[in-house]
Structures are given as C-alpha cells and as structure tokens.
C-alpha cells in the first residue's frame, strides 16, 4: 500500500531489538514512515534551494532533519554529490558504491594536499551587452546556440550580434573529384579522360557542393590563362557540362560565371598562337551564352539585356578588333533571329561601310586582318541570313502563282540588278501614287487567293513606296533599289489582282496587321539583298527563292 513495504518495517524493528512486532503495527507504521520521509525530503529540497544548488546532497537531508529536531544521520557527509550505481538486473534499484578502505593504507598514505582556499576571480561577462571572447567566458558556440533558438520568438528588429560562420564540409571524395577534374582541365584537356570527365560533370547528381569551387576555379583560370587557348576551351566545355547537369542549381553562381564566359566570347586575343582556332571557341561560347540566356533569362530578368548591351556596344565600337566584332556578332546571332533583327540589322548598313574596305585586297594589305574581316562578313551574313530565313519560314509554302508571273518579276529583278543605281528620283516620285493604290489593293489580293508567295511579292511591291516615303533622306541606296523591286512587285500584284478580280473585297484589321509584318520582312529582305548581294539567297528557302528570283 505504501512505497515502504511492511517487511521493511519488520526488518528495521528487528534491527533495533524488537523481535515480536505484530503485523498490524508494521502495517500501520509503513504509511507513516513514507509520509515522514516525504516530509523530510520536502524540507531537504527547501534547504537545497537556499544553498543555491539544484542537486540534493546529504547535507540538505541533515539540515532538514535538523529542522525537524531529529538526530542527524552520520557518516554520509560528502562534499560531492553521491555517486549511485544501478544494481545489475534491476530497473530502479541503486546503491552507493562504497569501497572498503584499509586503515593501514590510509595511515601510511602521505598527507593529502590542503584544499585550495576559496577566492574570487573577476572578469567581464559582457561589455555594453556584448560578450568579450576571453577564456573566462563561455565559448562562442555556446553563445550562438541559444541565440538560434531565440530567433523565432524575437521577430522584432533586435540586432543579432553573433553570426555563425557557415560551415561547408566537403567530403574527401568530392575533394578528390574536384582536384582530378581541375587537373585534367588544366593539363590534359584533349584526352579521352577529359571527355569522360565532362560527361560525368554533365550527369552526376552529387556535385552540387562543388559548384562554388568550380565557379571560382573557372573565373580564376580564365582571368589568368587568356593566352592559353586550350585551357580556355576546356574551361568553356566545363561550363557547358555544368550547365547541362540537371541536378545542379547553378543559378546563384551565374553572376560569377558570366564574366568569364563573355570574356571568352569577345576578348581581343584568345590564345597566343596563330594556329589557335579561336573562331571555334567563340562559336562554342556563343552557343553557351545563348543557352544560359534561354535557361535563366526568366529568373535573371536583366541577364539578356545586359549581355546584349555588352555585345552591341562591342560591335558598334569601330576601335575594337575584328575578332571582338566577330564574337559579338556570333553571340547576338546565337541569341536568336529576333535579337539580330532588332539589334544588328538596323546598324548593318553603317557597319558594312566600315567593313567593306577591310575586306578588299587593295585597301587592306594585312592578310591576317583581311581574313578576319572576311570572317566577320561571313558571320554577319549568316546572322542576317538566319534572321531572314526565320522570317520567311513563317509563311507556309504555297506557290500558287503562275510561273509566268514569277518569271516576269524575276526578269525584272535581274534586269534591275545592273542598273539598280541608275533610277532617277523623278521617276520614283512619279510612280508613287500608283504604288500606293496598289498597296491598298494588295491585301485583298492576298486574301482572295491565299497565296503567301504572292503575298510577299505584293508586299515587296507595297513595301517599296512606303519605305521610300519614310526613309528617303536616310537610306538612299535602298530607296534607289526599291523602286525597281516595287515595280516588279506591283506588276505581280497587278497580275494577281486582275486575276483574282472582285472575289475578295473584305478587309479585316487582323489581316492588316499580318500584312504589316510581312511588309517589314519584305523590306528587310530587300535591304539585305542590297547589302550582301546574292550571298543572302542561300538562306532563303528554295520556293521563295525561286519566287524571288
């Protein structure tokens, strides 16, 4: 019934010489013993608290007994808390491990050292609220830990003084991996092993902890190794592989990575040897840049704008080397035809004026420079061509125009070619009104027979006068060119309109818009043709090409 069993009472009774204790007495005493014990413990706990301790000692029990006017229990005094041992096989039975001491040993032992006397040491626990890092104070980790726990409850603007240093533990394997890869990139970038390493970089899932290190490595090596073409190429491949890896979250490191990449695109010199095919590196890097923009453009919303700004700036600076121009053009071209159309083509004409003398044998004696100029020309041609191809590709191939019409236009163009610069302005002015009339007719014609090629042609016709009226002062060459085209176009459309007759008389705003777009592309093509000559035709799909010609 109570914690103290009556057997205990009986044993105690026997130990003090009462042999015949009636069981009733034991039964009655047991609960009372428990109660008294609890009472003593309660008092002992009070004494413990007043001794500013949280661990109960025998002294406290003695004090409690003293309070109750009970004889103390002698022999258990100890300065230290008692060490209890768990009895083997019992869950909550403890005993004090009391060793037997031989008196002889005690007597013969040398006198123990006198205990040190109590004293006081003084230190600063805090100076104006901040704990100085001195040995007397608790180490910083201990300080930081509770401040973490505290954080959620103190939402307000309390300054947190101690910031935990970010611990970045890199496993041994990762370290080895990193060392191996960097070593390969620096020394044996053309080996098969490096290819495999790139493969691994592009696919392994556990590499994320290494990304900051790779980023740093790349940035560091690029800035140091601008003369080492092979190294640069290897590094760019590294970047490419990292970008490919679907498990890596590379976005936070882009701002560190981009400068190195752009450097590899538009640097004046990449590699120090003539044989270094830095063009290839630039092309590769351009694609890299484009893929970065495509992937992270929506996250870093100013990524592409900043990039294109840099590139266009490079391109338009006549003082920059041809190699830099080449890189800029390639970079822009890789970003897509729209970029080219918006940023390159408007500047194309002025640029060509710069470029042309460089390309000519008589003007530029330095073969190297000339070669570079031709490279740039090629890149420019390709970019514009792709752009125009992209435009034209939009239209379904449906050639419903009668071949004779094509022939006629073709003939016109061909004839126009030699004397394209001979047309008089007066002629042009005369022709304007009829052209405008045609222009209003144009859409209806298109609508009537749904033929895109004719559309284009019509546009060409229409485009000419419009562009003319708008841009007469600015671009003389195109204006001179356009009339001839316009004639051919208008003649074509006239044919179709006469054929299509009065079937289609409706006009819709939607189509109007589409017509405007087409108009632009038509104009574009014309101006390109003007600049590049027949070179541009390679980029025009054959049906349109044939149509055009």
């Amino acid at each position: 019934m109570s914690i103290v069993p009556k057997e205990t009472i009986e044993v105690i009774a026997q130990s003090i010489g009462i042999n015949s204790l009636s069981p009733d007495v034991a039964l009655a005493l047991a609960p009372d013993v428990e109660y008294r014990m609890r009472e003593i413990m309660q008092e002992a706990i009070k004494c413990m608290h007043h001794s500013k301790r949280t661990m109960l000692t025998t002294d406290d029990v003695d004090s409690a007994l003293n309070l109750r006017n009970v004889e103390l229990i002698y022999g258990f005094a100890s300065g230290d808390p008692l060490r209890f041992k768990r009895a083997v096989g019992h869950k909550d039975l403890f005993y004090i491990d009391d060793k037997d001491l031989d008196f002889k040993d005690v007597i013969e032992a040398p006198l123990p050292k006198a205990p040190l006397d109590t004293s006081i040491v003084c230190h600063w626990l805090a100076i104006e609220g901040v704990q100085p890092a001195i040995p007397e104070n608790a180490p910083v980790e201990v300080i930081a830990a509770p401040s973490d726990n505290k954080k959620p409850e103190q939402k307000d603007d309390l300054p947190v003084d101690i910031k935990l240093p970010v611990k970045h533990v890199l496993s041994r394997e990762l370290q080895l991996y990193f060392d191996k890869i960097t070593d390969l990139a620096v020394t044996r970038s053309d080996s098969v092993l490096f290819k495999e390493a790139l493969e691994s970089l592009a696919t392994d899932s556990g590499l994320h902890p290494l990304v900051p290190y790779f980023t740093y490595f790349i940035a560091d090596e690029v800035s140091r190794g601008l003369n080492n073409f092979r190294l640069l190429f290897a590094l760019m491949r590294l970047v490419g592989s990292l970008l490919q890896n679907p498990h890596i979250h590379i976005e936070p490191y882009l701002h560190q990575l981009m400068p190195s990449v752009v450097t590899c695109l538009v640097a004046k010199r990449l590699g120090n040897r003539f044989a270094d095919n830095h063009w290839e590196l630039r092309d590769f890097t351009a694609n890299l840049v484009a893929s970065i923009c495509k992937r992270f453009g929506h996250v870093y919303n100013n990524l592409q704008t900043r990039l294109t700004k840099t590139l266009v700036h490079t391109l338009l600076d006549p003082k920059r080397a041809m190699t830099q121009h080449y890189g800029a053009i390639q970079g822009l071209a890789a970003l897509g035809p729209n970029v080219v159309r918006l940023l390159v083509l408007p500047n194309l004409e002025t640029y060509m004026k710069l470029l042309e003398p460089e390309m000519l044998l008589e003007k530029q004696k330095n073969e190297m420079k000339r070669y570079e100029a031709w490279r740039v020309y090629g890149a420019l041609l390709r970019a514009s061509g792709q752009c125009i191809y992209d435009r034209l590709k939009l239209f379904p191939l449906l050639s419903s125009l009668p071949p004779n019409a094509v022939w006629r236009t073709n003939g016109r163009v061909v004839t126009a070619m030699p004397n394209n610069k001979r047309k008089a302005n007066a002629d042009l002015l005369e022709q304007q009104p009829p052209h405008k009339k045609v222009a209003t007719d144009g859409p209806m014609v298109i609508q009537s027979n749904n033929s895109m090629p004719s559309d284009i042609r019509g546009d060409l016709g229409v485009a000419a006068p419009l562009g003319d009226s708008e841009a007469v002062p600015s671009s003389s060459s195109s204006s001179r060119r356009i009339p001839s085209e316009g004639i051919s176009g208008s003649s074509g459309s006239r044919v179709s309109s006469s054929r299509g007759g009065d079937q289609a008389l409706k006009m819709s705003a939607v189509l109007n818009q589409a017509w405007k777009d087409d108009l632009n592309s038509g104009r574009l093509l014309v101006s390109l043709f003007e600049l590049f000559g027949e070179g541009i035709f390679n980029f025009i799909p054959s049906p349109e090409m044939s149509l055009f010609l």
């Binding site: 009372d32 109660y35 006397d117 003084c122 230190h123 626990l125 104070n137 509770p146």
Partner: protein, 671 residues
C-alpha cells in the same frame, strides 16, 4: 424498491454496525408485522427514498463508487462539447483531489492509492507539486496534520463556469445517479455561474487550491497602496537644482550611520557623462514622520511622491555627495544600450557557497558558506580592478583573519565567524559599511565592514532565516524565515518591530519596496505577498507561480515587481492592480536572483542554468497600457540578451548606482 430488499439492507447495516439488540428487535418486529398485517400493504414507500436507502446499503463498496464515479465523470467530460470542455475539465481536478482525500479519510488507504495513481497523469502537468505533496498522505491523521490537505478540506474551490456548462454537469450527475460525485462537487466546489458564453481557454489560469482562495486574495488586493517614491529624494533634488549644497539642512541624529567615505568608485563608467538623471531609487532622508500622503493617480507618468511612514535615518553629507556624483555619472540603459556586466566568480568553494552579496558600488563581495562562515572580499584591493579606490582605514582588526591567496598575489578576504549554521543570506547596507547575515541557526547578525567585527546578534526567529535585506535607506531591515513569518527590524533594537504572518509555507525571500513603506515576500506556498510595514498588514497577494518563489525584485519607480520561481519562470507584477503583467519564460532552471537597472528600463535575471538574461521592461509596460485599448497579443517581455557563463550558476545580481551590473556565482564543474 422492493420492501424486502430494503429490509434486508437495513438488517445488513445493523449487522455490520454490530447493533445486535436492535437487529433482533427489528427482526422480531418485522415478523410480528408480517404476521399481523400481511394484507395491509399500506407501506407505500417512496421509490426515491428506497433508492437512497439501497445506495447507502452499498456503502461497503465506497472505494469502487468513487473510482467508477470519477472515471465516468472523466470520460463524460472528455467527450463533452468542445466549446464547454475546458470548463468542465477544470472541475475534474478538485473532484479528483477531494475524492482521494475522502477515500483516505474513510480509511480506504489502498484504494485511495490506486485511485490516485490511475488518474494522476491527467493533472500532472498543471499541479505536479500539489500531487507530490498529496501522494504522501497515507492515513486520516496525515490529512489533519498536513497543512495543505487540511486547508483544502476546509475551504471550497471557486470555479467560474458558464450557465450551460453548469447545466450540462448537473444534468449528467442526476441522470447517471452518481450521488458520490454529486456529493463531492456540492461539498467542495463553489460554482460561480456566469451567463453567456464560456470563458476562453487562454484566461484559464488553472485551479488554485490555495487555502485562502482567490476570493480572499481579491479582497486583500483591493486595498489601497501608495507605490510612489518618497518625497524629496536625492534624484528629485538633483533634477530641481544644479546646486545641491543649498538645501542640506541635515538632521544630526542617527549617528548609527557613522561617517564614512563612500568615495571609492569604479571608474569604468567614469567617462560617460551626461546620463540623464530621472526619477530614481535612492531616496533622500526625510526628517519628518508622517502618515502617507494621498495617493496620486496612477496614470501620471512620473512616479507619484509619498511620504515615508517610517522614521528614516539621516544621511551623512559626504555620502549624499558621492551618491549624487554617481547619479550624475549614470549610464542610461535601454533595450539598445545594454549594461556592462562584471562577473565575480567564486572558485574552490567545494560546494559550500550558499549565498553571495555585492555592495552597491561593487567594491565589497560577501559570501555565506555552509560551514557557518561569512567571508568578505574587498575587490578594490584587487590589482586588476580598474579605478583607484581610497582604502579606508587599516584592516588588521582583531577578529578578522587575512588570508594570502594561493597563487602568491595578495588575495584578501575577511572572515567573519559567529554563526553556528549555514549562512543563507547576506546583505550590505546601502553605503557598504554594514553587513547583515542570516543563518540556519535562526539568528541574524550585523557586522561592521569597518571594524571587521560582529556588532549585534538578532534573535527572534525560531527556524532558519532564509533571507535578510537592508532597507533602501539602511537602518531597517527585513528577514524571512522557515517559521513562515517575515519580520521587520531596526539595527538598534534586538527585538523585531513587526512580524508579518500569513504565508502558508516558508517565506523564502524578502525585498523592500523602494519607498520603504512596503516589503514583498515570496514563499514556498507559491504566492508573493506585499506587506505594509507600518501596519504589518498584508496588502497584496500575487497568485500565479506554479512553484516555490525564489527571488524578488522591485522596480525603482515602485510600480512593478518581478518574481522568479523554481521552474525558471519570472513574473512581472503590477503592484497597484495585483495582476501579473507578463510572465517571462526563458530560464530552464531556478531563478536565483533578479535585479532592475537603476532607471527601471531593464531587468536582469540570474539562474541555475548558468545564464544572465536581460529583459526589456519598458516594452512590456508599454504593451500593458496599449493592451487595454486593443486586445494586444504580444504582451511578453522581450528577452534582450542571454549571457551564458562558463558553468557558473548566477547567485547574485546587483546594479551599481551608475548602472554597471555586478554578478556573482560559484564555479561548479558538475553543472
């Protein structure tokens, strides 16, 4: 219902009680009755009465009834409507306790124990300590002996409950015929039925089964108190006029406070001039006695002024000057300007340090030890201490022993011997020239730090004196003892001036209000009381702690009080309303000490979990004010900073007059 059954029950009862004669007579009469009037069945017994009688006949099965009744009530409560559940659950604890005590009182000890153990888990969270106490009750006489149980038996528990919950409960009790439970509830619970919705769970402050009860406390707490500061205090004067010497008409009596040079200063804060000198703690001596001035409205931002009810000692001019100097050089503390903390670590104490005390200027540190000794260190003599100190006199007086430090340096302490039991508390007089110590030998001793000698031994308490404290102006002091009283003394009398009785258990700590008219006592009965020094009456009872109150601190403006308990909870109380402003939760172990900064903007707490925590007091009090307008949500004090020590529990905290915080503790490797 059947008449025969009733008769059987009656016979059984008579047999059990041993009324053999009556039994025989009854049987005889019964036979006679049946013979005579078998046809006359006029005995139309009320079925209800029959039931009652039958239920009484089952009384030999009382324990089971309690057990069943309670467990049914419990399961019904737990499955009741959510909206009313928390109110009904509150009923369970008093029912449980009283069921247990009823069982014990009726002698069913074993069953009581079983009952207790099977349901104690429900209440352990809220009432662990009460349960631990009750667990020991094992015989009816224990109930009488144990004060806690006795007071529980005597008083009724007040429970607020809403109309509907009350009806639900009654309905249930009647429907299930649980007469035992009904009896317990009727006998021991006093329902305060309120119309309308049940109270929200948040203001469920738990059922306090303290004997005097909330009612008495409320009654007491309606008394008026004048918590304002004393008139004509030094601070006030400093504010009024730059020239201080003009109005020093000093009374030359009270030579007790002997002249002393209080000019040893710690220069640590010396450079920080221009701290503003607002309403403050140290009060100026007022020669005149008088009843308390009328209280001023509590809404006045500056603390109102009251007159002292005590004859206060005169302050020597030099002391006053030095204090004024301190006040001028005070550093203004706030949540953004935290104090510097100087920590005194006791080493090699061998678990013997019971208490420590630091004088107001931090130059003297006293330690009370379990070997009855009291040791005083003069920190000004430490080479490492900054600031020059003017050593007063020679220290080689007769009773003191100078001990050389082990490591060669001259580490002096003065040993005071006189007590015959562990020293539990020590307190320096405001000017550091006297030291009081209280001990387990139930005496208080007054020591002079100038003469290094024991001056007086105050005998009056009958049991260990847990705490002693000088009044803010000296001359008077208060003591708290295991004999459940707190006493007020003056240094020149060996008999106490007032005895404050009322606590139901040990008085563990005592603190003076800053205007000297009140003292606060914290007790093992989990309450804090405020007493009027002049009348000796209890003027406030603060109920809310869940364990023994270990430390107290009074705010310098006299408006608030903080108390810390064994569980690590600190509570902030508004003295005028007697309500808890906010509990401060953060410490994980006993809060040994609390201290307000001198302008009252910060509270520092030291705990057994080896940390000093700083709390923002101004934030909390502001919240309190706004809370009345809008139902504020974040009314908890901000914990500004936790300063962990290197395994040193913090025993004492003391703000100097210049707002430097001193802390002391004994290095304990085991913690």
């Amino acid at each position: 219902m059947d008449e025969e059954e009733i008769e059987k029950a009656v016979i059984a009862y008579l047999k059990k009680k041993g009324f053999k004669q009556t039994e025989l007579a009854f049987q005889e009469e019964q036979q006679h009755h049946t013979k005579n009037s078998s046809s006359n069945s006029s005995s139309s017994t009320d079925p209800d009465i029959a039931k009652h009688l039958l239920s009484f006949s089952e009384s030999d099965n009382v324990p089971a009834q309690y057990h069943d009744g309670y467990s049914k009530l419990r399961s019904w409560t737990y499955s009741s409507l959510d909206l009313y559940k928390h109110e009904l659950i509150r009923v369970l604890y008093p029912v449980f306790v009283h069921c247990f005590m009823d069982l014990v009182a009726k002698g069913h000890i074993q069953e009581a124990r079983n009952f207790f153990n099977s349901f104690r888990e429900d209440h352990e969270m809220m009432h662990l300590r009460d349960l631990q106490k009750l667990e020991g009750v094992l015989s009816p006489c224990h109930l009488e002996e144990m004060e806690f149980a006795h007071s529980l038996r005597q008083s009724k528990v007040n429970l607020k409950i809403c109309q509907y919950s009350y009806e639900l409960l009654l309905q249930y009790l009647h429907k299930t015929q649980s007469i035992t439970m009904l009896g317990v509830i009727n006998e021991h619970i006093n329902f305060q039925v309120s119309p309308g919705q049940p109270s929200s769970i948040s203001d469920d402050e738990g059922v306090t089964l303290v004997g005097s009860g909330q009612d008495a406390a409320n009654l007491i707490n309606q008394k008026e108190i004048h918590w304002g500061l004393l008139e004509d205090s030094l601070e006030e004067r400093l504010e009024k006029a730059g020239s201080l010497l003009s109005d020093l008409e000093k009374v030359d009596g009270e030579s007790k406070e002997g002249d002393l040079d209080e000019s040893k200063k710690r220069a640590v804060e010396g450079g920080k001039q221009g701290a503003s000198l607002k309403k403050l703690k140290k009060d100026k001596v007022v020669g005149a006695t008088g009843k308390a001035a009328r209280i001023e409205t509590n809404t006045v931002p500056a603390a109102p002024r009251v007159k002292s009810e005590l004859t206060l000692p005169a302050m020597p001019t030099e002391v006053e000057h030095s204090i004024l100097e301190d006040l001028r050089n005070r550093v203004q503390l706030s949540s953004s300007a935290l104090p510097s903390v100087s920590f005194y670590t006791f080493i090699n104490t061998h678990n013997g340090l019971n208490c420590s005390s630091i004088s107001h200027d931090g130059s003297l540190v006293a330690g009370g030890f379990s070997d009855s000794s009291l040791k005083v260190w003069d920190m000004a003599k430490f080479g490492q201490q900054t600031g020059s100190s003017i050593l007063q006199g020679e220290n080689d007086f007769a009773t003191s022993e100078h001990v050389l430090g082990a490591d060669g340096g001259k580490r002096y302490y003065t040993l005071f011997r006189g007590h015959s039991g562990p020293v539990y508390s020590a307190s320096f007089s405001p000017f550091g020239d006297f030291l009081l110590s209280s001990s387990s030998d139930s005496t208080i001793r007054l020591w002079s730090t100038k003469l290094n000698a024991n001056l007086v031994c105050y005998k009056g308490h009958n049991y260990p004196v847990w705490d002693v404290q000088f009044s803010p102006l000296g001359h008077y002091f208060a003591s708290a003892s295991h004999d459940r009283t707190a006493r007020i003394w003056s240094v020149d009398r060996i008999q106490p001036l007032r005895i404050m009785a009322g606590h139901l258990s040990d008085v563990d700590c005592v603190r003076w209000h800053s205007n000297c008219n009140y003292i606060a006592t914290g007790s093992s009965d989990k309450t804090v009381r405020l007493w009027d020094v002049q009348s000796g009456e209890c003027v406030r009872i603060f109920i809310g702690h869940r364990s023994m109150v270990l430390s107290l601190a009074m705010s310098p403006d006299g408006r608030y009080m903080a108390s810390g308990d064994e569980d690590g909870t600190i509570m902030m109380w508004d003295l005028s309303s007697g309500r808890c402003v906010t509990p401060l939760v953060g410490h994980t172990s006993c809060v040994w000490t609390l201290a307000f900064s001198c302008e009252g903007s910060l509270l520092a707490s030291g705990s057994a979990d080896c940390t000093v925590k700083l709390w923002d007091v101004t934030a909390s009090t502001k919240v309190l004010k706004t809370e009345e307008n809008k139902t504020g949500s974040t009314n908890r004090l901000r914990s500004l900073k936790t300063l962990p020590t290197k395994s040193t529990p913090v025993y004492t905290l003391q703000f100097s007059r210049r707002n430097l915080l001193f802390a002391a503790g004994a290095l304990s490797k085991s913690v």
